[in-house]
Each structure stands twice: as structure tokens, then as C-alpha cells.
């Protein structure tokens, strides 16, 4: 099937304005007759829930954490892009649009990306009005920094904790609506299934994580703002609880899943230290503004470093290979994430890695400290340096940081049209949970932008258009579909608890993670992917025979929570592999070794693969069906991405 993006016709710059005008409105008195469910309270969820409640809709907001303020958006460090052009350095809405399309390796939808760039300016205004304390210059105006993949300074930031400040802003707006009685909060509540009636989303089934109670909630529309699926790799920079369950179960109820193989491997993370590792920690990409990435020129010298025979400071300037500056003179250390990650892998594969495991490169602040002073660097990145020291026990002001790429973000997600509606009418996906804006690679400081754009400025318009046509729809949990869905959830829980096998949930999760990282990570091959597919299938079968889930349903049961999530990852993993196998090209975060330029850069095949791959669930253990949304580029010329 060819999917219709429902992008409005007309010139790019007028699409959104025109669309807002032609969308149907719900009059203020009628808004209070609608129920809306928002799952997830990160930037997308909290901003959507707050904005919709302000408009007058009745909102129920769900999160699995103990408070909406804990959502993983909070961990975003570097900043948020906006085409304000406050720096007078040549930025514009079109340039932000262009950078994002190019950064995404021409695999995103033009109309969505342009709208994102357009509303980016409103986001900053909104956050400042909420009291978000962005960094400022001495004159009292907002400060900006530059970020990977861009040649202008358009990133707004709050030291190294921008995500925290933006999320607390959205959380405060949400809290205000809770106090107003327009939002009802359901913390420690996990969505277990989507309920559809006559093909339309009409509610959800949830599990109360404290009591185990399976409950149903009805609504006129359901918004999934549940983040990405990076934890399929077990080790990632995601929070421990981040999971795909809500999106995956919606997928099994009819929502197509798009481009699952597009995963972002972030170049600047703290390297793995041992088998006990439970998660990886990101060091903001903004560090690449001042830090210089290097490894020794020779394998011999790297070996001495690894054995501790020499220290980084012992290596003379002429023996250092600042490989990003050497290969990409115009972008240098600020090349996009996929390029930086892949090059780190290359130098480590050559044997020039610098830590004990051989999987690390240096990020060195020596020159920046000499140029600007240690205090200046502390003011910019103090909390990041502290965090690094806390985790590694080393002082990065004195010795270079060691970094290595790690799974960080997933560009794929539920397929949505221009209105952010999935293929299930009434079901929407916002933020990282959808696939729409970043193509095959996301630029730094664009995730916060997209989450808030979707929640504050897109969904309040597009949701009304759908709801206006559904005023007569009655929503009620007494409908048999709710009972049926709840019974299915109960049966699944019963099954998980009754297997009583020999291996823990984490055991399976770690094994899945290893398969995914080795075969569907930074570099992929057809052969490896085929092998991975067979291994995942076998692992999934083993899971359902031999997993050990302790305790009972009617209590706080963290192994049961994890079991559900890992069961879904075991299905998603296979789809990611299918998608990676289908895409016989390299683009952005998807790098197939068979398809590269002589210089080792990603080689796209625009003729055959300029489409979004949207997969339809066909039933348990069935191959999924591929549907395509052709990507049409009317405003940019597709070129080989060059950051040289």
C-alpha cells in the first residue's frame, strides 16, 4: 500500500498556515465534552497534555514513573534548536529546515520538517514565559551555542541540563492543569494495550504498578508520547524504564511502524567498563564545541596507552591524529553524530583505541583550557565534567576524556501523517515515539525541539480537526472491546508468571542487546542481519519457555514489569532486522557495509529507497507487510552529504 502523508499542497512556507486555517475547529463549549488520553509525560506528553487541557479538553495523563517530572526527556543535556537568528549569523527557518533534512540524510518528510523549523521560534518564547532559566549573556539576552551538523549558533541551552529545565517547564504547565482539574494524573501506571472500536482508537488498558490492577480508560483520542526504543540494545543512554511496549502494542492493533532500523548511535558517551554495566552515560555533544577528538597515529602507541605504559600527555602533537579535523576540515569536530560515531569505530577497529578494552577515543580540552581558562570551561560544562569524574574516577580538566559511541535515540517509530495521526484513526504519536522529522539521523538539539513542537504547537491544531468530526461518538469502557482487551492482558500476565523457567528477564534482555549491537548497530551486513534474525527468533522462543518471572501480579513487581517490556523488545528486534535487511543502501544511522563510497561514507540509493518503510503487523510469528510512503523532495536537491 502507498501511504498518504496528507501533507497540504502549496508552497512549503505556506503549508502549515494554510492547514491550520482549513482544519476544523471544536468550539470552546464543546471541547469539555471530549476525553483525551496522553500516555507518557516527557516533553511531548507533558506539553500536549497541558496545552490540550488549557484549550478545555478533559485529559488523562499516564506515566510509569512515580511522577511526571521523571520522564527521560529530563536527561537531555545540550540544548534546543530554534531559528531565531538572534546571533545575526545567517540563520533562518529555511536554513534550519535544510540542515535537518540534510542531517537526516534525505529520509524525512519535507512538510513536517519545515513546520518543525517554523514553530521552533515559538517554543523558546513559550519556555521563557514559563520561567525556564536559559543561559544568558551579560546584556540580559539569551545566549546560543553551536551544535553538530550546523554552521550557525542556534542552540539555546541551560548549562548542561537543558532537557531538565524544559521538562520542568512543561511539568509546571501540566501541574497547573492538574490543579485546575483539567488533567487527571496516573503515575506508576503502565499502558498495556490499545483498545480499538470499529478500527478507531477509543481507549487503553493499563496496569497499576503498585496494586497490579488492570484498568480500562475510554477516550475520543489516544496520544502516545512514549519515547524511543533504544533499550532494545540493553545498553543505551536511555533510562532503565524506557520501553517500546505502548507503541508496540498499538502496532499490533494496527498502527504501522516506520523505519525501525534508523537508530542513532551517539558519538560521545562514557565507554563501557565491564559486564556489570546497566546503562551508558552520554556526555553532551556540545562538548565537541571545545573538545578535540583524537587517537594516536600508530597502533604501537595506542597499545602502550592501553597497557598504561604511557599517558596521553606523553604523546607529542605530531603523533596525534585529530581524525575528524583531518577528514572533515570545514565541520571538524562538529560533524553530525552518525559520521562522528562511525569514524570512532573505524579508528578503534584499526587498533588505535585508547582504553583497556580498545573501544575509546580521546576528547581533549587541553587547547580550550589554554585558550579560554579552566574557569571558562567549567562555566560551560561544569556539570558534565563532574559527572564524568564521578563515573570514571578521572579528572577531565587534567587528562583527556575517553569516549565511545552508544545507542542514544531512535529516529524510527510509529508512522504518522502530517497531523501526527497513525494508521489507526484517533491514535496519535508525538515526539520520539513517531518517525516523522529526523529521517535517518537526528541532529543534536533537535529532539527537544520536536517533542515540544509536537506537544505545544502541532497537536492542539491537528487533534481538533479529528475530534470535530467525532462529537457524537460516545466513549464508554463498558463496550465489550474493553473487556476483551483487558482479558487478553490478564492472560498474558498469567502466562508470564506461570512459565517459572530458569533464566531471569535481564538474562534474555542482555542476550538480545548483544545480537542487536553486533549485527544491527553501527555497521550492518546482509549476512549478519540474516544471522541475527534467526538468533532473535530462537531467543524469543526460549524466553517464552524458560523465563523466570517471580512474585505475583497483585503487588509492586518489577520483574513482571520488565518481562512485558523485554517480550516486546524481542519482537521489535526482529522487525528492526527486517527493515535493515530491506533497505539496501546506507543512510544516516543505517550503515550497510555493502553500500559505501570509496571514502567510506554512507552511499544512498535515492532511486530505489527514497521512501519511509512502514510495516504492518500481520499476526504472531508472521512476516510483517512492507508499505511505502514515497518521499518527495520539491525544495531541496538530494546530494551526497558532505561535511568536508
Amino acid at each position: 500500500m502507498i501511504l498518504d502523508s496528507k501533507s497540504p499542497a502549496g508552497p512549503l512556507a505556506e503549508k502549515w498556515t494554510k492547514h491550520k486555517f482549513t482544519s476544523k475547529l471544536v468550539n470552546p463549549a464543546n471541547k469539555r465534552k471530549y476525553e483525551v488520553i496522553v500516555v507518557g509525560t516527557g516533553l511531548a506528553g507533558a506539553s500536549a497534555a497541558a496545552s490540550l487541557a488549557e484549550l478545555g479538553y478533559n485529559v488523562k495523563a499516564f506515566c510509569f514513573q512515580d511522577s511526571p517530572r521523571r520522564a527521560h526527556s529530563i536527561a537531555a543535556q545540550g540544548g534546543i534548536n530554534a531559528a531565531k537568528n538572534y546571533q545575526n549569523d545567517g540563520d533562518s527557518v529555511f536554513r534550519l529546515f535544510y540542515d535537518t533534512i540534510k542531517g537526516g540524510d534525505y529520509r524525512a518528510r519535507e512538510s513536517n520538517v519545515y513546520r518543525l523549523a517554523e514553530v521552533s521560534v515559538n517554543i523558546i518564547d513559550q519556555c521563557v514565559a514559563q520561567g525556564v532559566p536559559f543561559a544568558r549573556e551579560y546584556g540580559g539576552l539569551l545566549a546560543n551555542r553551536s551544535f553538530g551538523g550546523a554552521q550557525v549558533s542556534r542552540t539555546f541551552y541551560a548549562r548542561g541540563q537543558t532537557g531538565q529545565q524544559l521538562l520542568l517547564g512543561a511539568y509546571s504547565a501540566l501541574s497547573r492543569q492538574v490543579a485546575n482539574g483539567k488533567v487527571k494524573l496516573y503515575p506508576r501506571t503502565e499502558m498495556m494495550d490499545l483498545v480499538t472500536i470499529d478500527g478507531e482508537a477509543r481507549g487503553i488498558v493499563t496496569r497499576n504498578l503498585i496494586t497490579g490492577a488492570i484498568e480500562t480508560h475510554a477516550a475520543h483520542a489516544v496520544l502516545l508520547c512514549t519515547g524511543g526504543y533504544g533499550n532494545v540494545f540493553f545498553l543505551s543512554t536511555n533510562a532503565m524504564g524506557s520501553n517500546v511496549t505502548a507503541a508496540w502494542r498499538a502496532h499490533k492493533k494496527g498502527a504501522y511502524f516506520a523505519n525501525p532500523c534508523y537508530t542513532q548511535i551517539h558519538p560521545t558517551c562514557i565507554p563501557v567498563s565491564g559486564d556489570h554495566q546497566s546503562k551508558l552515560t552520554l556526555m553532551s555533544e556540545s562538548l565537541r564545541n571545545d573538545g578535540r577528538v583524537w587517537v594516536p597515529k600508530t597502533v604501537e602507541m595506542a597499545e602502550k596507552l592501553r597497557k598504561g605504559q604511557i599517558k596521553p600527555a606523553d604523546i607529542k602533537e605530531e603523533d596525534r591524529d585529530y581524525y575528524l579535523e583531518r577528514k572533515y576540515p570545514s565541520f571538524g569536530n562538529l560533524v553530525p553524530r552518525d559520521v562522528a560515531s562511525r569514524n570512532a569505530k573505524y579508528v578503534c577497529d584499526e587498533g588505535r583505541g585508547v582504553n583497556e578494552t580498545g573501544e575509546a577515543v580521546f576528547l581533549d580540552f587541553r587547547d580550550a583550557i589554554n585558550r579560554d581558562s579552566e574557569d571558562a570551561i567549567r562555566a560551560r560544562y561544569g556539570n558534565l565534567f563532574d559527572m564524568y569524574q564521578q563515573i570514571t574516577g578521572e579528572n577531565p580538566y587534567k587528562t583527556p576524556m575517553m569516549i565511545y559511541p552508544a545507542v542514544h535515540y531512535t529516529m524510527g517509530g510509529l508512522w504518522v501523517d502530517y497531523n501526527l495521526m497513525t494508521t489507526v484513526p484517533g491514535l496519535y504519536a508525538l515526539g520520539e515515539a513517531n518517525f516523522s522529522d529526523h529521517g535517518a539521523n537526528r541532529l543534536g538539539a533537535s529532539a527537544l525541539m520536536q517533542g515540544l513542537a509536537d506537544g505545544y504547537f502541532v497537536i492542539p491544531y491537528t487533534l481538533g480537526d479529528y475530534l470535530a468530526q467525532n462529537l457524537a461518538t460516545k466513549v464508554d469502557t463498558n463496550h465489550p472491546e474493553f473487556t476483551k482487551a483487558a482479558d487478553e492482558v490478564k492472560a498474558k500476565i498469567k502466562k508470564l508468571l506461570s512459565i517459572n523457567g530458569t533464566k531471569t528477564v535481564d538474562h534474555f534482555h542482555k542476550r538480545l542487546g548483544k545480537i542487536m549491537w553486533n549485527e544491527c548497530g553501527m555497521a550492518r551486513t546482509a549476512e549478519g542481519l540474516k544471522k541475527a534474525k534467526a538468533e532473535i527468533k530462537a531467543l524469543r522462543a526460549e524466553f517464552w519457555k524458560d523465563v523466570k518471572v517471580l512474585g505475583e501480579n497483585e503487588e509492586l513487581n518489577q520483574s513482571l514489569e520488565k518481562a512485558h517490556r523485554v517480550a516486546d523488545f524481542l519482537e521489535l528486534g526482529e522487525l528492526m532486522v527486517d527493515d535493515a535487511l530491506n533497505r539496501n543502501e546506507s543512510c544516516g544511522g543505517h550503515f550497510r557495509e555493502e553500500y559505501q563510497t570509496p571514502e567510506g561514507e554512507a552511499l544512498r540509493d535515492d532511486e530505489n529507497y527514497a521512501y519511509a518503510a512502514a510495516w504492518k503487523y500481520m499476526g504472531d510469528e508472521q512476516e510483517e507487510e512492507l508499505n511505502k510512503e514515497p518521499l518527495v523532495f520539491e525544495n531541496v536537491k538530494l546530494t551526497q552529504r558532505s561535511y568536508k
Partner: protein, 249 residues
């Protein structure tokens, strides 16, 4: 490393709870404290015993979900969150006592997990600027002196973990509440609702059953984010000037 763990086990809110001792071997000094507990839980699970429940999520020291009262200190011996605490802070053979936060306003849910919804309700009482989405002025319309913006930022970095309450002998939530009141009192955007906010948030804080402040400073000393005691002084000033000229009579 070889350790002896004394862990608080409590089946649910109505259970009395007690300490259970677990010996643990093969711990690396590079593990985080929570990874050490992961090891314990894998061992317990393999033996068919219920794993120790504790709250955690980002494991980067920013979400505020992890807690734990370790050897008599919230988040343990270092001034950081438990997820950022590493086993190199302990010595081989040590006995480590692990308890949940203890406060009337933070009832225990299970084992080391407590309910901190009272913090959410304090924010709901007024920890925001009442602006709707859209229709706000340009972000650079109101310049804010850098020193003020920086000070507001410092207050705004509170992660809402509750260590301040756990550290306080009175289980007072003054540091948490004052951080939000300070942030918004310093910024021009927070001026309109300044008085009302201080009155309402403090009333909610009292209604939740948090104790009074006796200025011992334990909260700031244990705060993993270094939220300053100055915020409490500022909140007191905000509160007194608000009640003296209150609009809520």
C-alpha cells in the same frame, strides 16, 4: 569486593518491615551502587526469592527517581545521587545498611520504594507561571541580568528526589519548596503570582505533613544538586512579606 548488606524489606505499605542481611561477593569497585543491587537481585531471582525493590530510572543523576538511605545518609557517603555513587566509595568487607526515605509524607510502598506524590502536590499548589501555550512575548523582550538568571537556574536544578526530607530530623520539605519559590521569585516572569505562590505552596507543604525547619542545614549538606540554604531564607522572606500584604483575606 566482599560486602554484607543489611536491607530493609517490607512487603507493602501495611507490612511492618524489617532488616534482612545478605552477603554479597564479587563486586567491582567500578560498579555503581545500583549495579551492585542489580547483582544482588539477579542472585535472589535465580534462587527464586523476591528481588529487592527500589526506585531508579535515568541512572544519570538527573531524573530524581532513585533514593536510598545508605549507612545513615541519603544517597550515601558522597554528595551525589545513589545512581552516581560508585562502589569505590566503600571498602572491601564493609557492612552497608540500606533503608528507604523515612518521612510521614513519604509512605513506604514496598521495600525501598516510597511514595513522593506529596512533592507533586506542592508544585500543583503554585509552582508555575500561569501562562497558556501561545500568545507570549518574544523570548528576548525582557532582558534578565545574567547573575539573576544564573541564580534562578541554580535553584531550578532541584531534581525532586526528596533527600532533603530524608536528611532532616523533622522531615521538612523546606529546601524542595523554597527552590521552586526562589526560582520563580527571582525571574520577572514569576512576579505577578509571587505572593500567592508562596502562600499556597507553603500551605500545601504543611498540609502534607512535612515537619518544620529548625535551620540545622542537613538538607543542603546532603542535597545531591547542591541546592543552597539561601533559598530557604528567601522563601521565608517571600512568605512573610506575602502574608503581611496578602490578597487572600
Amino acid at each position: 569486593m566482599k560486602l554484607t548488606l543489611k536491607v530493609w524489606r517490607q512487603k507493602n505499605a501495611s507490612d511492618n518491615g524489617s532488616f534482612v542481611t545478605y552477603p554479597l561477593d564479587g563486586i567491582s569497585k567500578d560498579m555503581s551502587f545500583l549495579e551492585m543491587l542489580d547483582v544482588l537481585n539477579e542472585e535472589l531471582s535465580e534462587k527464586g526469592e523476591d528481588p529487592v525493590h527500589f526506585d531508579h530510572d535515568c541512572r544519570e543523576g538527573i531524573c530524581g527517581m532513585c533514593s536510598l538511605y545508605i549507612n545513615g545518609k541519603p544517597h550515601g557517603p558522597q554528595q551525589t545521587t545513589t545512581c552516581q555513587l560508585h562502589m569505590r566509595s566503600f571498602s572491601d568487607g564493609e557492612t552497608i545498611t540500606i533503608e528507604p526515605w523515612r518521612a510521614k509524607a513519604f509512605p513506604v510502598v514496598k521495600d525501598l520504594v516510597v511514595d513522593r506524590a506529596s512533592f507533586d502536590r506542592i508544585i500543583q499548589a503554585g509552582g508555575y507561571v500561569s501562562v497558556n501555550t501561545g500568545g507570549v512575548p518574544d523570548a528576548n523582550e525582557i532582558p534578565i541580568p545574567k547573575v539573576i538568571a544564573d541564580e534562578a537556574f541554580d535553584a531550578a536544578t532541584c531534581i525532586g528526589c526528596g533527600a532533603c526530607v530524608a536528611a532532616c530530623k523533622n522531615a521538612s520539605a523546606m529546601l524542595f519548596t523554597s527552590a521552586k519559590i526562589s526560582q520563580l521569585a527571582m525571574l520577572p516572569q514569576g512576579q505577578v503570582e509571587r505572593k500567592n505562590r508562596a502562600e499556597k505552596m507553603i500551605a500545601q507543604m504543611d498540609a502534607e505533613g512535612f515537619g518544620a525547619c529548625t535551620n540545622t542545614g542537613a538538607c543542603a549538606a546532603e542535597c545531591p544538586k547542591g541546592i543552597s540554604l539561601t533559598n530557604i531564607a528567601r522563601m521565608n522572606r517571600e512568605y512573610f512579606s506575602a502574608v503581611l500584604s496578602s490578597d487572600n483575606v
